[in-house]
């Protein structure tokens, strides 16, 4: 169970997107995890073969718990059945790589563990398993280092049901061959709102996919079947995300905890600067006239781009405070708070924001907003921001002095774009301006550094064509 943000202590597996035996590549989305804030897509940190899913959908476990075992690609999976174990470290010494905790180390690349050779069962055991028709990948091993012994194989063979049931398959667990239940994001959202458990829903969409109408039908059925009829047992149980009311409460608590920690630990200092947006706005206007509506840039996108480039120019504000020192980040991953309809907010990151052309950054931003509100953000997006930019301009405030997201060390605030009387070259004129602010961690930087940042931001916005 990875930490999906500095404020997360535990998570619930909502759904597995892979089955035992499936090949996965590092970065493939393999599970949906529910946290206090949102359902989040989590990727595999390793390339290999899914050996076992340890935590069942619906189970809530602490951060750091082993969720699944993935065999390294070179490993002979047939010989690598790991020992039955409680869902907590340590893993068996020769077990395949486990999904590590990324707690408080957002910048670290997970999955750098040394490759483990698979525990080897003896050729004799393999031969026996073959003769008895036992699949070694699903036999719990009781031998040294979790290897499968002759007794394990015989036990598995004896325990086998006539219909070749998997030895440790619980009643509602799907056979690995069964297709997982597919659910449209909208259906998932509606299910959460209505408090419908996915295991009670019969999909009628293509390939048995669950659609919104199916969820509503299930919600309308007075007594959803608590036990599935035998025919339905081939479906993997999928748990509905937290209902909206509970979500609002847990999200508030998560925000409360993180922000209290920030104010408790981080000595903030604050700076502000009014930026003339004449050049930026006329550039935007010109550009938007020439492009399709869908390619249009909003001022916020240009401001984000400038904020990201400025963070690269003043790297002392881009990174993490770890223990007692600042660790600069190699890239600028821009955290962008997105308010959710219905309350609360999520702060996913736009990766490598300083290197994206404004149009691309804008597309990413739109995509993030859509997915944040649909509850389909990915782990990396929620854990890897190196600096955050909050934009409350649309809400009509002139300036925002934000609270830093630990372990980051700076938060940039953008206020409302307004026309103000501005003196320039001895003349007063009406010009579009925006108030930019910086909240920064005084442990890691001083006001001088912060001032350089805001000046860089302003300079960049005077030359929008270079952004």
């Amino acid at each position: 169970m990875p930490a999906l943000g500095a404020d997360m202590d535990e998570g619930t597996v909502l759904e597995w997107l892979v089955k035992p035996g499936a090949p996965v590549c590092k970065g493939d989305i393999i599970a949906v995890i529910d946290t206090a804030k949102s359902a989040i897509e989590v990727e595999s940190f390793h390339t290999g073969t899914v050996e076992r899913l340890i935590v069942e959908p619906g189970e809530t476990v602490p951060v750091g718990t082993v969720l699944a075992l993935i065999a390294e690609p070179a490993a002979e999976t047939a010989a690598a059945a790991p020992a039955e174990q409680p869902p907590a470290p340590p893993p068996p010494p020769k077990a395949p790589a486990r999904v590590p905790s990324a707690r408080n180390r957002p910048s670290r690349q997970p999955g750098t563990a040394e490759p483990h050779p698979a525990g080897a069962s003896s050729p004799l055991v393999r031969h026996l398993a073959h003769d008895l028709g036992v699949d070694l990948t699903v036999v719990p091993g009781t031998g040294r280092a979790g290897t499968v012994t002759r007794a394990d194989v015989e036990r598995a063979a004896a325990a086998r049901q006539p219909k070749a049931m998997r030895p440790r398959a619980p009643q509602r667990k799907a056979s690995p061959q069964a297709a997982r239940q597919r659910i449209s994001p909208r259906a998932r959202r509606v299910a959460a709102q209505l408090g419908v458990s996915m295991s009670d829903v019969t999909g009628t969409g293509p390939g048995g996919a669950v659609r919104e109408a199916d969820v509503r039908k299930a919600a309308a059925t007075p007594q959803a079947t608590p036990r599935q009829p035998p025919g339905a047992a081939e479906r993997e149980p999928v748990v509905a995300a937290t209902p909206a009311a509970k979500r609002a409460r847990t999200m508030r608590q998560a925000i409360a905890q993180l922000m209290a920690r920030s104010k408790r630990e981080i000595p903030h200092y604050y700076l502000s600067n009014t930026v003339d947006m004449t050049a930026a706005m006329s550039w935007l206007h010109q550009r938007n006239r020439e492009l399709a509506v869908s390619e249009r840039l909003v001022p916020a996108a240009l401001l984000l781009k400038a904020a990201a480039v400025a963070a690269r120019q003043v790297p002392d504000l881009n990174g993490y405070w770890e223990g007692d020192h600042f660790v600069p980040a190699a890239a600028v991953h821009l955290g962008v708070p997105i308010s959710l309809r219905g309350g609360g907010l999520l702060t996913p990151a736009i990766h490598d924001a300083s290197d994206l052309p404004p149009g691309e950054l804008m597309a990413r931003l739109r995509d993030l907003v859509t997915r944040a509100r649909a509850g389909r953000l990915r782990r990396a997006e929620l854990t890897e921001a190196t600096i955050t930019v909050t934009n409350l301009g649309d809400q009509g405030v002139e300036a925002v002095f934000g609270v830093i997201y630990p372990p980051q060390v700076a938060l940039v605030g953008i206020g409302k774009l307004t026309e103000k009387p501005v003196a320039s070259h001895g003349l007063i004129g009406a010009r579009p301006v925006v108030v930019t602010t910086l909240s920064a961690d005084h442990r890691s930087s001083d006001g001088y550094t912060g001032a350089r940042y805001l000046a860089a931001l302003s300079d960049l916005l005077q030359r929008p064509e270079e952004l």
Partner: protein
């Protein structure tokens, strides 16, 4: 576009952007962005959807016409 068609196109576009929007309680002269809490991205999505439905490009310079339901209907119906 008739005013009725225009209203329909606007309402559909708004619902697409803000599915939870309560359009029934929206007065003709209420500010759309404020009442429905649309941020600049939401508003752009609205413009994009509306451009498609109206079958014509809506420029940034036209945004002031789209501030309220009444003004937006007038804007679309006039052309």
């Amino acid at each position: 576009m008739t005013p009725e068609q225009a209203r329909h196109a606007i309402e559909e576009s708004l619902v697409q952007v803000a599915p939870d929007a309560d359009l029934g309680s929206l007065g003709p002269d209420a500010d759309l962005r404020d009442s429905l809490e649309l941020d600049s991205l939401d508003f752009l999505n609205f413009i994009e959807a509306l451009s498609e439905r109206a079958g014509r490009r809506i420029e940034e310079d036209d945004y002031p016409h789209l501030a309220t339901m009444a003004s937006a209907i007038k804007f679309l119906a006039d052309r």
